[in-house]
């Protein structure tokens, strides 16, 4: 099934980076399943997350949320609420300064519209902020919240994206001071819009033998990080604001808070302790401002923690989209043109509205070669919960449409879906045709594919699941079996934007302190970065003491998003460690010279091996000896170095997913039998963690495929806002799962690594839909594919083909 065997004109052999594969044999710490540096304390229950401290005199905050989807606040009467014993302060739009900003925790300047305020005199969705109460305990705050009287002028609301952008729709952001970029047109409820392309699509479609076009649709999804959003603020002994916060972006949070609270960056310290999962939900300055505001005003510590219900209704979500995919293809299966139109729903605020939707095209379209591409995007405001960053960042929406569509095309041409993909998939050396047009709110740098193991992903995934078995499913009973597959790619950081830094210093026992801005939110990045340092320094992992994400102590890092930590922060760590190695050699040479033994002490003759600097004649000095000497005896200085890294390259990881399902046509139930994810993430720094990322990311999206959705009443109120009513996958639902790590070597990555965290989220939607399509002969173009939908479609199909007897009876 490989490209060459098909003789499809592939002009070069698949280069999986095999030329650099020798590295794999030399690794001592990376590419090994070390014990994760934080796992034991977490398993013992000793890890301290944000909410695991209490401070003397700490106030507790509760929020009054809007009961209306769209309303103007005319007056707020807090007199009764203030009388509740224990209430200390109440804040709302009439006593907090209005400053527009975006809650999107992105780099500066954020490519999201400035359309939010700490408290706004207008509410735009059920669950929008109205007022907050700070009290001595949570109970008093909760009681007082209920006693706040608000005079609302209720406005007409709009919940559907097509209606929202139609003339005459209620204008959600009618405030004159909101600003945005890239097609921002609030009068028409447009948070972002763009049209970009490459080549002449009209000419390319004209050349096609077959043109296929369909609409697809994907739902809301909630991150469901098990730890809710929470932040605790206090003033330290220097009267500085300290914020301990469940965040993925401590440095962006500090910058944004300084602006909206009007205090200098210097006066703020953001500490990220242990985080109980983020998935993009904590790439938002969502609640950080509230305890900070309370603390600045009352001068007392303050805590604000979302309830699970608040997570569902008032935190961020995955942007729902409608997508139109149009493909032009030659009879032999060669793709010639691809066109994607996206109409997305960002809800009441435009957090990540431009960039998520940009990635819907940017991550998908370039995967298959074509003569021309077009992407048309409109992101609409509605009076519904707010979209935001969510692991995959637009990819899952786009891949659902594209990979379902590719199966439809293959079907029409009578081609095997895997072979059809292999024929058209990009090759090493290919340029990403849309890289320039789809930068992060600005022109992006060009991208050329170097390491690429996608064909091996297809081949090994197909073998693992037994792809050829799909041709022999009998499916003569009510339970039908099917198999589906997809190909995927993602990115590694935001090229030309994301920067990370690390600092490393040597201690007198030969151990090292590694300080990184990188934000471990449960991804394992503390372990992975420590492994990279250890490998470069030639020490065991246990010699690295890592401390991450404290804006006072660690250097800057963009934060945990865009699949950037291993690739960008990892390279910063590698640079810091390489610098330390140089200094170790220099110091050792000086020690030998000082002792009158200078032979073989040129820097290029020395090497760092197994915690020693080694000379060609075999003489060596341990890191500990060197440190003791430089601390106390001779040539006194601290051996330390730093690294900063920004990359204009963004090497995509690649993947192929395979699913085998059973569909019960009598109940509409889908049983996932097997799932195989083959992934090329370059060198897996910690293989089991890469598997874990794959398994976790994919399982989340199995829910997206089959069970997860937001259900609203007619007034925009979310009905399924609990873990009981919003169904995510459990240990009983997850199928037999196999992850295959395909070995490649990415020359621009630290020890050959690319990213792994987001790519698995792109797969399950289309993979499962494709498997169901094979099982039933019915194509579902809308997620989630629920038993009701399946049953309905099955009955319709039965009626159409007037198939007798079993179905007709029901």
């Amino acid at each position: 099934m490989s490209a060459q065997q098909q003789g499809n004109g592939a002009d070069q052999a698949w280069d999986t980076g095999a030329g650099s594969m020798g590295h794999y044999d030399r690794f001592k710490v990376v590419n090994k399943n070390e014990r994760r540096v934080d796992a034991l304390k977490l398993a013992l229950g000793k890890g301290t997350y944000t909410d695991d401290i209490t401070l003397p005199g700490m106030l507790h905050v509760k929020m009054l949320w809007s009961p209306h989807a769209h309303a103007r606040i005319k007056a707020i009467d807090t007199s009764e609420a203030e009388r509740v014993p224990g209430v200390v302060a109440i804040y709302h739009c009439f006593n907090v300064k209005p400053i527009r900003y975006t809650t999107a925790g992105q780099g500066h300047p954020e490519p999201s519209p400035y359309d939010a305020m700490i408290f706004d005199p207008k509410v735009r969705f059920v669950g929008d902020r109205v007022a907050c109460v700070a009290a001595e305990d949570e109970r008093a705050a909760a009681i007082a919240v209920k006693k706040i009287k608000v005079d609302y002028e209720v406005l007409p609301a709009v919940f559907d994206t097509r209606e929202a952008i139609a003339p005459g729709a209620p204008v959600i952001h009618d405030e004159p001071d909101c600003t945005g970029i890239a097609g921002f047109d609030p009068k028409r409820n447009i948070a972002a819009a763009m049209e970009v392309g490459h080549g002449d699509t009209d000419a390319a479609f004209a050349k096609a033998d077959l043109v296929l076009e369909h609409w697809y649709s994907v739902p809301y999804q909630q991150h469901c990080a098990l730890e809710p959003h929470v932040a605790i603020a206090w003033l330290d002994e220097d009267d500085r604001l300290v914020l301990r916060c469940a965040t993925q972006v401590p440095f962006h949070s500090r910058r944004i808070l300084a602006r909206i609270l009007e205090i200098p960056v210097q006066r703020i310290r953001v500490i990220k302790p242990r985080i109980g999962g983020g998935f993009g939900g904590k790439q938002e300055v969502l609640l950080d401002d509230i305890p900070a505001l309370v603390t600045l005003r009352t001068r007392r510590p303050a805590r604000f923690c979302y309830t699970r219900q608040e997570e569902f209704s008032s935190a961020r979500t995955r942007h729902p989209q409608r997508l139109r995919w149009k493909t032009g293809v030659k009879k032999d299966g060669t793709l010639v043109a691809q066109e994607l139109e996206v109409l997305a729903n960002t809800g009441a605020y435009g957090a990540h509205a431009l960039t998520v939707q940009g990635c819907t095209a940017g991550k998908t379209l370039p995967l298959y070669r074509a003569d021309a591409y077009k992407f048309i995007m409109t992101t609409a405001y509605t009076n519904l919960p707010v979209g935001g960053a969510f692991r995959g960042y637009g990819g899952p929406q786009g891949f659902f449409a594209m990979e379902a569509h590719m199966d439809e095309v293959a079907d029409l041409l009578g081609l095997d879906p895997a072979e059809f993909r292999s024929k058209n998939i990009l090759r090493p050396g290919d340029e990403n045709p849309l890289a320039k047009a789809l930068g992060e709110g600005k022109e992006g740098p060009p991208q050329k594919i170097r390491s690429c193991g996608v064909q091996e992903c297809i081949d090994r995934g197909a073998k693992a699941i037994g792809w050829e078995r799909r041709l022999s499913f009998k499916n003569d009973g009510p339970i039908k079996r099917g198999m589906g597959m997809t190909c995927l790619m993602h990115g590694s950081g935001i090229p030309g934007v994301d920067m990370a830094a690390a600092f490393l210093k040597l201690n007198d026992d030969g151990s090292f302190n590694l300080l990184v801005g990188a934000t471990d939110i449960g991804t394992g990045s503390d372990t992975i970065l420590a492994q990279i340092a250890a490998e470069q320094l030639s020490v065991p992992l246990s010699k690295i003491q890592i401390y991450s994400s404290d804006t006072d102590i660690t250097p800057f890092d963009k934060g945990a998003y865009a699949s950037s930590t291993t690739y960008i922060s990892g390279t910063a760590v590698q640079k810091a460690a390489a610098g330390v190695c140089e200094q170790l050699k220099r110091a050792a040479a000086e020690m030998w010279r000082h002792a009158g033994d200078p032979t073989g002490c040129e820097l290029d003759q020395l090497s760092c091996e197994d915690q020693h600097v080694v000379r060609p004649d075999g003489k060596k000095l341990s890191y500990s000896e060197i440190c003791l000497s430089t601390f106390y005896e001779h040539d006194q200085h601290q051996i330390m170095h730093y690294g900063s890294h920004m990359s204009f390259e963004c090497p995509p990881p690649f993947s192929a997913h395979f699913a085998e399902v059973e569909v019960d046509t009598e109940t509409g139930g889908v049983k996932l039998l097997r799932y195989v994810a083959a992934v090329d993430c370059g060198v897996a720094i910690h293989p089991e963690s890469c598997e874990g990322q794959t398994e976790g990311g994919a399982t989340t999206m199995m829910g997206y495929a089959l069970t997860e959705d937001y259900i609203f009443d007619g007034n925009g109120r979310l009905l399924n806002d609990t873990f009981r009513d919003y169904k995510q996958f459990t240990s009983l639902d997850v199928p037999d799962f196999q992850t295959i790590l395909v070995r490649t070597y990415e020359p621009s990555g630290p020890f050959g690594a690319k990213s792994v965290s987001e790519i698995p989220t792109d797969g399950p939607g289309p993979t499962i839909a494709n498997a169901i399509a094979q099982a039933l002969g019915i194509r579902f173009r809308k997620l989630p594919i629920t038993p009701e939908e399946i049953r309905k479609a099955w009955l319709e199909k039965a009626a159409r083909t007037s198939r007798q007897p079993a179905e007709a009876r029901v």
Partner: protein
Amino acid sequence: MKVRLTLNGEPATLTCAPWEFLTEALRRHGLIGTKRGCETGDCGACSVLLDGEEVASCILLAAQADGHAVTTVEGLGGFERPHPIQEAFVDATAVQCGYCTPGMVIATQALLAQNPAPTERDARECLAGHLCRCTGYVKPIAAVLQAAERCRAGDVAKTGGRS
């Protein structure tokens, strides 16, 4: 009010309000390993053992623990002597963000005390009430099975650490 109970093998008194749930009382007592993910009994982050049975401490009034034996994740093992279940979760790379881990460790202890040789299906059922958005459950299921093996080898599960 005062709740008197056996906490991680030692007699203890928790001071709490009558309406308070056990999670709060335990956490105020310094046992922060018991986590809050939903406070509606749906996620398993707050699981503790009540007389050896797994319960969701977020929907159990603290007062209901009066006179009973409660074991939290801290009661199973510490840095000096981690419980084999805790070791298994670490070695299986079943700990990602770790927020669900204490609850899963408690659930595993409850399972192994009843059933020292669980099947893969038993392991899945043991974790069924424990939501985890990080791992996809694949490695936690493996951790439960690995824990069972280790406990059988060391016969620790029956005695259940210090509890």
